[in-house]
Symmetry: C2
Subunit: 164 residues, 2 copies
């Protein structure tokens, strides 16, 4: 049932997610972004709003689900792929599952995120959270764009250090 | 650091969660409820609003976090206990972790929920999601009130069958 993968489209979607992570950083939020796509079309790009929204749930992937389902209904995310600049946490993994997302691609890993940002940590891997999900969700790492995503996390950490 | 446990208070909190699960069922929602408590005081009781709210994220535990943090700020759930009528899914487990909940008690298990309700399933256990969480979250099952929570799930399943 899997559609043929277009790796240049995958790359572009991840580039958009990493750009959204930079925009989140510049807006004063946690440095994460996510792109939603299906059938070779980008449907939406979202970014983290945790700090400016004073909303502990406003991770990029949750924002993606909220924004798309508010606009297009709860079924609008079925069969989609999410490209996340950082490996989704358990909250986000569960949210994407209930929304019907069937493929997740991430750049920076949980270890990258924890090493760069510190603080409270929920390190379970996305693939472990979703391992027994039914219907199944495919989880993939994007090694090629991982350094670009990690660079944004490190910029955030430097900014944070500059403020203390 | 753990406060001494008052088992009759724990029982009362779970009773409130199970009552909320019945109210959710009667309101046409998925049959789940949750109670928030700290230091021997009940802070809030929430119920599922997935169906009436057309909101795939409106599980009882997410509603609890949303309602309390909207009213009292993002720090209001730090160091609390959540009593859930059904074992929290990965989305809810992650949400409670980010909110600062430090203890989770559930009655019906993931297996009970899947056996009664069927459908899409994200069966990872709450304790597995939170196993490496830092700060740690204590996860406990309430075997004594599990049958009462399961009975509500079965009433829901019977209602659902009656409608098809």
């Amino acid at each position: 049932m899997a559609l043929p993968r277009d790796s240049s489209f995958d790359e572009e979607c991840m580039r958009l997610a990493i750009r959204a992570s930079e925009q989140a950083l510049e807006a004063g939020n946690m440095p994460f972004g996510a792109t939603l796509a299906r059938g070779g079309a980008v449907l939406h790009v979202a970014q983290n709003h945790q700090l400016t929204g004073a909303d502990l749930m406003a991770h990029a992937e949750v924002e993606l689900v909220r924004e798309v389902s508010a606009r297009h209904g709860a079924d609008a995310l079925k069969g989609t792929t999410v490209y996340a600049s950082g490996e989704p946490c358990a909250m986000c993994s569960g949210t994407m599952f209930w929304a019907g997302v069937t493929r997740v691609v991430f750049a920076a890993t949980q270890d990258d995120i924890i090493a760069a940002l510190g603080g409270a940590a929920l390190p379970i891997r996305t693939a472990a959270v979703l391992a027994e999900a039914e219907p199944a969700v495919l989880v993939e790492g994007d090694e090629q764009q991982r350094p670009a995503a990690v660079a944004v996390l490190q910029r955030f950490a430097q900014h944070a250090k500059g403020r203390t």
